[in-house]
């Protein structure tokens, strides 16, 4: 269906949460709300799953104290029309802080990308930028690099009007220091499956 001739209904985050509460979705459905669209998450292969585990392990070592939560594929209340479930997030606080509502302000979001790089770079990159997520990583399994995005800023050419100004692509021999853990040093090689 061509987007130019059809406008589909968009969902707010509150409506999406209500759909979940009412049990409208089938058990085991993998969905994310992205800019009002209910996007189906593709099934994951073992490289993708391994990438998620490696990133999670590395980030839990770095964000080790109890001021931080490192989550795998849990919902983020990103904005009024988006509730993604990023592969890995780092959020400030205690798990019980998020009993009333999902975390809205992660300090770092990571997606592991194999086939669908365009979705993670353009669509999600613009959404996370718009929500002022200060740092976004894409573990790019196709090219075996870690893409590091920082400094969200308005960009009219981006799908949601925002993009990251600083973009780095780090190869296996390089290191990365998360903004939220300025003394840490993570080898990119440790993140790649």
């Amino acid at each position: 269906m061509s987007e130019s001739i059809v406008r589909t209904r968009r969902w707010s985050r509150l409506e999406y949460d209500r759909l979940i509460e009412e049990g409208v979705f089938q058990p085991g459905e993998r969905l994310e709300l992205l800019a009002g669209q209910l996007v189906v998450r593709e099934p994951q292969g073992t490289p993708h799953a391994t990438g998620i585990r490696l990133v999670t392990r590395a980030l839990r070592e770095v964000f080790a104290d109890d001021r931080w939560i490192v989550d795998m594929q849990l919902p983020v209340a990103l904005d009024e029309e988006s509730e993604p479930e990023p592969d890995v997030t780092v959020t400030a606080g205690d798990p019980r802080d998020y009993l009333p509502s999902h975390p809205a302000r992660p300090v770092l979001v990571v997606e592991v990308a194999e086939a669908n790089l365009a979705l993670d770079r353009k669509e999600k990159g613009s959404l996370y930028g718009r929500a002022r997520v200060p740092e976004y990583w894409i573990l790019n399994l196709r090219d075996r690099v870690l893409e590091v995005y920082r400094e969200p800023h308005p960009d009219p050419s981006a799908p949601h009007g925002w993009a990251y100004r600083s973009r780095q692509s780090l190869a296996a021999g390089e290191h990365v220091t998360p903004l939220g853990a300025p003394t840490a040093r993570i080898a990119v090689a440790d993140l790649l499956p």
């Binding site: 001739i5 209904r9 759909l19 669209q37 189906v40 593709e42 669509e123």
Partner: protein, 193 residues
């Protein structure tokens, strides 16, 4: 390297759609149609659009009685993933036959098109043909013609694998007899604003 954004959005069945309405998650006054699993927004009607609906209704009402009747903007249970609300439909039987279920076997569907012409031709035309609706009219306000589509058949080049084989474009001087009322004679001029 070109990157195409591939996003699959969640598709809805007609049963789920009816439940969303029953739960009040979708408001009754939202102008929506379920088309091949997608919740598509309908455009507002221009005065010419509304006029054409009423004029076609008036022209058909007596012609299709008593074996059938005319409905305006009412839902049709078209298939498992489609519940359109055509501008006008002719369905068999009496109004009280559809107290519990929407009609599923219309004999004629009519859409009035100005901005939606491509959508009504390619998208809805293929969907209605796939459901074996025997006759489909588009009141084409741009070109001031009545487009008459008949003989649904498989067509691999069509959006949903079906299309109408017989296509006629009738101008204001011509007239049409619906398949459902072969003795009736409707002047195209009478249905154009």
């Amino acid at each position: 390297m070109s990157e195409t954004l591939q996003v699959r959005t969640r598709r809805w069945s007609r049963t789920e759609y009816d439940r969303l309405i029953a739960l009040g998650i979708i408001q009754e006054d939202e102008r929506l149609e379920l088309l091949a699993g997608e919740l598509v927004l309908r455009d507002r009607q221009s005065p010419g659009h509304a006029y054409a609906i009423e004029a076609v209704s008036e022209a058909l009402r007596d012609a299709v009685a008593p074996g059938g009747h005319v409905r305006i903007l009412s839902p049709i249970a078209l298939d498992g993933e489609s519940e359109p609300e055509p501008d006008l439909s002719v369905v068999p039987g009496a109004i009280r036959d559809y107290r519990d279920d929407h009609p599923s076997q219309p004999t004629l569907l009519v859409e009035v098109a100005d901005t939606s012409l491509t959508f009504d031709r390619e998208y809805k035309g293929s969907l209605y043909a796939r459901a074996r609706v025997p006759e489909y009219w588009i009141v084409n306000l741009n070109d001031r013609v009545l487009e008459v589509y008949r003989e649904p058949g498989p067509d691999t080049s069509a959006l949903y694998g079906w299309a109408y084989r017989a296509v006629q474009s009738l101008n204001a001087e011509e007239h049409v007899s619906p398949l459902a009322a072969p003795t009736a004679r409707i002047n195209v001029a009478d249905v154009l604003p």
